[in-house]
Amino acid sequence: MKKMITLNVNDREYDLVIPVNRTLTQVLRENLKLTGTKQGCGVGDCGSCTILMDGRPVNSCLVLAAEAEGHKIETIEGLSEEGQLHPLQQAFVEHGSIQCGFCSPGMILSAKALLDKNPSPGETEIREAISGNLCRCTGYQKIVDAIQSVAKKV
C-alpha cells in the first residue's frame, strides 16, 4: 500500500508517495537524501537516528513516515544556515566532542531539544537528556562539556 504524504522537514514541504511501511529514517535518508540522520540499530536502542518532531527528540526509526505528516520535522541538516554552524555544533567542534561522528547528529539534536526547553541545565540534566543517544567513542565527557558551554552562553 502506498500513500501520498506531505512532510515538513527543516521548514520545507516535501510531497512524497511512499509505501506505508517506510520509517521516517528511511524516507529521510533514501527519498530526501538527508543522510545526516544515521541508522545504528533500527529498534530505538541507540539514538543515531534522532530527529526532532515538533521540537521533541525521537528515534526516527520507530516513526512511520506516514505518521510524521502534520508534524514539524527537524534534522541535523536544518541546524546550520549558510555554512554558519549552530552554537551547539560549533561547541561540539571546539570541545573535541566528535570522534567517529556517527552519534553526533542525534546527540546534537537531543542537546538542542534540552536547551530549547531548559536553557541552563546542570550536568545531571544534560547526561539525562542524552541518555538515549549512545556514544562508543568519547566517554561522553567532551559532549557534556560542549553542551554545558552553550548552556552558559544562554
Binding site: M1, V20, G42, R56, N59, N133
Partner: protein, 296 residues
C-alpha cells in the same frame, strides 16, 4: 531492518477506529507510539496485515480531572508527558517517577501509557505505579464500553483482557481522599535505556489518626504479569508506624518477596530477584512514609 508490508489506516474518531477494528479483527493491530509494536514487527514477531493508527484522533494525549471523581489519562499520553506533567507530579507522583525511568528520553517522547499497558511486559515501568493507584481501564468495542480494574487486565506476558476488537480508550485513576504518597524504584543494569531486573511501586494513604489507611505495593519483572501484592496491604492496613525505620515495613517487604514469582533468565536469577523485591519494597515503603511524615 525492514518493516513487513501492511495497510495503514488513520481514523479520526474512536468510533471509526472501533468499526475498522471490528472489521479486521485479529488481522489488525492498533498503533499508538510504536516503540514496541514497530520493534516487534521489524523482528518479525508480529506481521499484522492492517495497522490502525490512533494518532490522528484528537484528545487522547492528555490527562485531566474528571468532575471530582478522579483523573483520566488519555491512552496516547506519552511517558514524557506523564513524567513532566505538573498535574501528574502533584497528584500521583509515583506514576511520574515510573514514567521518568521508562527507556530513554527518545523512547519516552513516543511511548504511550496505553501502548505500554497493552504490550503487557512483565517489566513495564508504568503498570506497577498504575496498579498501586488502583487504576481502571476502559475498553471500547462493538459490544460497547466496559471498565475493569487494572489488576484484572493483565493475563500473562503480552496477554491482556482486551479482545481483538476492543480499543483501550481511557485509564481512570480514582480520587485520593487523605494524605498520600508513593514511590517507585527500578533496578536495572545501567542507568538508562534499561529493562527492569526488578521494579517496585508503592502507595500509602494515611487515615485521620495517622495510621495507614491504605497500602499498595506492586512489582515488576518478578512474575508473568505486573503483580499487586495483597499481603503487603494486609500487613500495613491500620498500622501506625513509629517512623520510617519501623520494622513493620521490613515485614511487609518480606511478604512482597514471598508473593513474587521470579524466574531465572539471562538478566538475573530468581533468588536474587526475590531478595531485591524485599530490598526495593522496603525502600519504597520507607521513602513513601517519610514523604507522608513531611506532609502531616
Amino acid at each position: 531492518m525492514l518493516l513487513p508490508k501492511f495497510d495503514y489506516h488513520a481514523p479520526t474518531t474512536i468510533d471509526e477506529a472501533c468499526s475498522m477494528l471490528g472489521h479486521y479483527g485479529a488481522k489488525a493491530k492498533i498503533l499508538a507510539g510504536g516503540t514496541d509494536l514497530l520493534v516487534h514487527m521489524k523482528k518479525r514477531l508480529l506481521s499484522p496485515e492492517q495497522i490502525i493508527s490512533l494518532n490522528k484522533i484528537e484528545g487522547l494525549k492528555e490527562a485531566f480531572s474528571q468532575n471530582g471523581t478522579g483523573l483520566v489519562l488519555g491512552p496516547l499520553s506519552t511517558a514524557a508527558y506523564l513524567a513532566d506533567s505538573r498535574l501528574i507530579q502533584e497528584r500521583i507522583s509515583v506514576l511520574a517517577q515510573g514514567a521518568s525511568r521508562l527507556g530513554s528520553p527518545l523512547i519516552r517522547n513516543r511511548a504511550t501509557v496505553g501502548g505500554n499497558l497493552i504490550t503487557a511486559r512483565p517489566a513495564s515501568d508504568l503498570a506497577p505505579p498504575l496498579l498501586v493507584l488502583s487504576a481502571k481501564v476502559t475498553l471500547k468495542g462493538p459490544r460497547g464500553e466496559r471498565t475493569l480494574p487494572l489488576e484484572d487486565f493483565f493475563l500473562g506476558p503480552g496477554q491482556t483482557a482486551v479482545q481483538a476488537d476492543e480499543i483501550l480508550t481511557k485509564i481512570l485513576i480514582p480520587n485520593i481522599q487523605g494524605i498520600s504518597a508513593g514511590a517507585y524504584i527500578k533496578l536495572g543494569t545501567r542507568k538508562a535505556l534499561e529493562i527492569s531486573l526488578v521494579n517496585t511501586a508503592c502507595f500509602l494513604e494515611l487515615a485521620q489518626d495517622g495510621s495507614i489507611k491504605l497500602a499498595r505495593v506492586a512489582l515488576g519483572a518478578v512474575a508473568p504479569i505486573p503483580l499487586l501484592t495483597p499481603s503487603v496491604s494486609k500487613i500495613l492496613a491500620g498500622v501506625k508506624p513509629k517512623n520510617m525505620d519501623d520494622p513493620v515495613f521490613r515485614e511487609a517487604a518480606r511478604a512482597a518477596a514471598q508473593e513474587s514469582k521470579p524466574i531465572t533468565d539471562h538478566r538475573g536469577s530468581a533468588d536474587y530477584r526475590r531478595y531485591m523485591v524485599e530490598i526495593l519494597t522496603w525502600r519504597t515503603l520507607k521513602n513513601a512514609y517519610s514523604q507522608l511524615m513531611e506532609k502531616v
